[in-house]
Symmetry: C2
Amino acid sequence: MRDVNPRKARRAVSAETDLKQPSGMAKTPRRVRRPKEVRERVLAAALHAFATVGFEGASTRAIANDAQVTQSLLLYHFKTKDELWRAVLQDIASMEKMEQLLASGDDTMTAAQRLMVAIRALVELFAKVPELHRLMTLEAHQPSERLNWIIENVNRAPYEAMCDLIAEAQAEGAVRKISPERLRFAIVGMAAVPFSVSAEYQFLTKRNPFSKIEIEATIDMICGMIFIQQ
Amino acid sequence: MRDVNPRKARRAVSAETDLKQPSGMAKTPRRVRRPKEVRERVLAAALHAFATVGFEGASTRAIANDAQVTQSLLLYHFKTKDELWRAVLQDIASMEKMEQLLASGDDTMTAAQRLMVAIRALVELFAKVPELHRLMTLEAHQPSERLNWIIENVNRAPYEAMCDLIAEAQAEGAVRKISPERLRFAIVGMAAVPFSVSAEYQFLTKRNPFSKIEIEATIDMICGMIFIQQ
DNA sequence: GTTGAACGTGATCGATTGAACAGTCTAAAT
DNA sequence: ATTTAGACTGTTCAATCGATCACGTTCAAC
């Protein structure tokens, strides 16, 4: 997973594949058992790997290595690579920021205010988990089993919530009259791209997209563009 | 490359790996030689593969198969997988739409008008080659040799051209006063996302992002958002 | 204490990977 | 007609892939 040029690297590095105890010690291995922690570490490593080299490009061995775990143990906790993938996305779907997207603000606020809260949550979500949009980009360009699964289990609810919010805010006269669906993809694009191509962003602009200042500026820009100024 | 669940597919499908002549014919093989065509077909298949399953996920055999070519021939034309990757991006960089990004419009036009032309070229580029932004998303999230190569050989010139154009148009008072760099990433996000997640777009909105109508609507939306209306 | 399920390991499998190689064939230049 | 550089082929290689397996170790329930 880390080898950029597999062939040459294969020849150079000698094995050192899986993880094993430093053998030779006389005493009993005294194995540590932390299933919760193992799952967490594996999920984090897997998210990074899937979003970085794609589903087929990610190897369970490399993920296990990253998570400081043997490949066997990884496959013990997640029966197959496919199940691991699904567990990764389920983990994201249950994140805090994800839920903020669904219930943004309270009833005393106008739709425009609630939309603003939702946009902030969206930008902060992508800043916190830039892998999410990279992963979506990898999966969402052609119909597939995995895409259907993502849409129904992760995407649909926040999508429809935001479209409704946009339509309401438009009815209030606060937002530009554009197809809510098109506008929501535009918002996602503006909110996600600075983080999903962060290295390019940093290289070309000399600014860190993950810094508090840049995040706020991104939020301001999006709001400034979709809300009608008086 | 096409196997979504490699393990099961491997077991099910019996070999049929490489491409070979239907042996048994008595006559001489009468091999066809079309190096230009071979290169083109391989480049197209490789672009699709790299953007779909990532660099490591794409196999030279699958690409060769897609291009109706033996793996040996692929590696004859492009010595290594890495060189093939570079050839793919060089091919994109020399596209017509790409050059339109650099020289948009003529001298008689205002900066705002030229920016509008550039935005149109950008959207049409992403519609024509949706793989481009998917590929960038895969590569541009962390510093790497390949990313540096892309930026210098593909990205930098159009990036700076658009930033300059934005700044000029802002000086004319035609464009919102936002950091040109930030604005250009926002434009790219809005222009690219509908196509790079086209299956999701189609599934959720029931509209085809590649249709003439949607493309025009996307262009209009972007222009409507960045230009100041009077 | 014993038991049994859950946790964790190393070895191994068939398949597939990128690459190298020794050839065969074609077409254009001489 | 001969040469030769380039186009193309099938075979083979070590490395790595996802997955399975038999086997230890731990811990809580009884």
